[in-house]
Symmetry: C2
Subunit: 223 residues, 2 copies
DNA sequence: TGATTTCCGGAGGTTAAACCTCCACTTGTC
DNA sequence: GACAAGTGGAGGTTTAACCTCCGGAAATCA
């Protein structure tokens, strides 16, 4: 049996044209679906949005994890960049507030990113990037305190919890009024400064009674 | 066919002794289970905690809704009473803060109560009680503003969102450090006052790094 | 223009988790 | 001790996800 050729797609030969297109469609669909519904959106749903059979999805991405890495490595990296950028602010407090606004904004637009950031990452490259955030967060908090405008009893772990709080508000009302989270971030920041003479102006109004009603009667399951 | 007797348990004759005991065990188990795991805890799990077969559970409470009403009518009523009590405070702001502390404390101890309060109530007596809270909340907010210590841009709908935020923090870290939510309530209240000269003292410290780690790696399903 | 390789779709087998019913047996009560 | 009342949990059902498999379609090659 001569010439028993190598079966592995080693050093990947390029995909066939239709396969390449489908891969793109899958990535786009998965991005949409996960941003909206979270990391554990059914594979079926992704395939459907992509207009592709489940078989195709599994052939291209044998496990959810590969899909997640393909999609979220960049986004996670952007957050690290935000953290670094926030250290360049003249005023540590401004950097702190800017970073918070940034990272929460990203999470409210992208539920899966929030899940990854808040712990759902097992191991892998995405988690590795996330872990680089810890030291940066320490510096951000440190600088804000040195600027004298962040309450001295604030701890870096509080930074995570603050995000959770604002994101909870965002997630609850997100379908009804996507920008309300800013309102609650403003309030929280007013609670985080050392002192102030009056409330910061709100850029976003409260939910109307009707909006609140709809918010309350459309709560998701959990996950 | 003489004396075809009435089959309905009309004007309920008393339950047999063992049945009465089982009913009690079921209610206790359901209370525990729902407080911990939420309204939609599997019926199976309730029966198991009660040390009773599922059959017995379904015979006593044919639907989850009946169980819920039996358990939560009182608790919901207590919240209404808290709201009324908070109106008796000399200072409207104190009443406001007290009520918030109360209602959040109840919800962090009792997940099902939180779900009921935040909308998961379909119709029924429990929902009816909850609806009595709306007008009371308006008064609470009104008085706090009149006292001059609640930021004037605060709306009653914000009251719900604030609860959601603190409860989110509580739920996230609840298994690890049940009292941290107080820390975040303190911060929020500092953001809700009109002005202040410094941060309010914290009664509860931040999560340690290890506690935060555990908090992040034990997130529930959504679900 | 075949011939050949690659890729596609989605029916369908599998597992898991909840649901609720049913009835042979046990227990309480009169 | 007879008989009504109550019990438990096996098991049928549904729902929702998982992932594989293979006949046929599409792209690429010669």
């Amino acid at each position: 049996m001569p010439d028993m050729e190598e079966p592995r797609r080693s050093e990947h030969r390029p995909l066939r044209k239709d396969a390449r297109e489908n891969r793109r469609k899958i990535l786009d669909a998965a991005s949409d679906a996960m941003s909206e519904l979270g990391l554990s959106v059914p594979m079926e749903a992704i395939a459907e949005r992509a207009g592709v059979g489940v078989g195709t999805l599994y052939r291209r991405f044998p496990s959810r994890a590969e899909l997640v890495e393909a999609l979220f490595e960049d986004r996670m990296e952007s957050i690290v960049e935000d953290a670094e950028a926030s250290l360049d602010f003249e005023d540590g407090w401004e950097g702190f507030a800017w970073f918070l606004e940034r990272i929460i904004s990203r999470q409210t637009r992208d539920r899966a990113l929030g899940e990854l950031l808040m712990g759902d990452a097992g191991r892998g490259r995405v988690a590795a990037i996330r872990d680089r955030l810890g030291p940066l967060a320490d510096k951000i908090v440190e600088r804000a305190k040195q600027a004298g405008r962040l309450r001295p009893d604030f701890d870096t772990t509080d930074l995570v919890m603050v995000q959770k709080m604002v994101c909870a508000a965002g997630a609850a009302a997100g379908d009804v009024k996507p920008a309300v989270w800013r309102r609650y971030l403003t309030i929280l920041l007013d609670g985080l400064t050392t002192s102030r003479s009056g409330p910061s102006p709100q850029e976003v109004g409260p939910l109307s009674d009707d909006e609140l009603y709809r918010t309350m009667h459309s709560a998701p399951g959990r996950r």
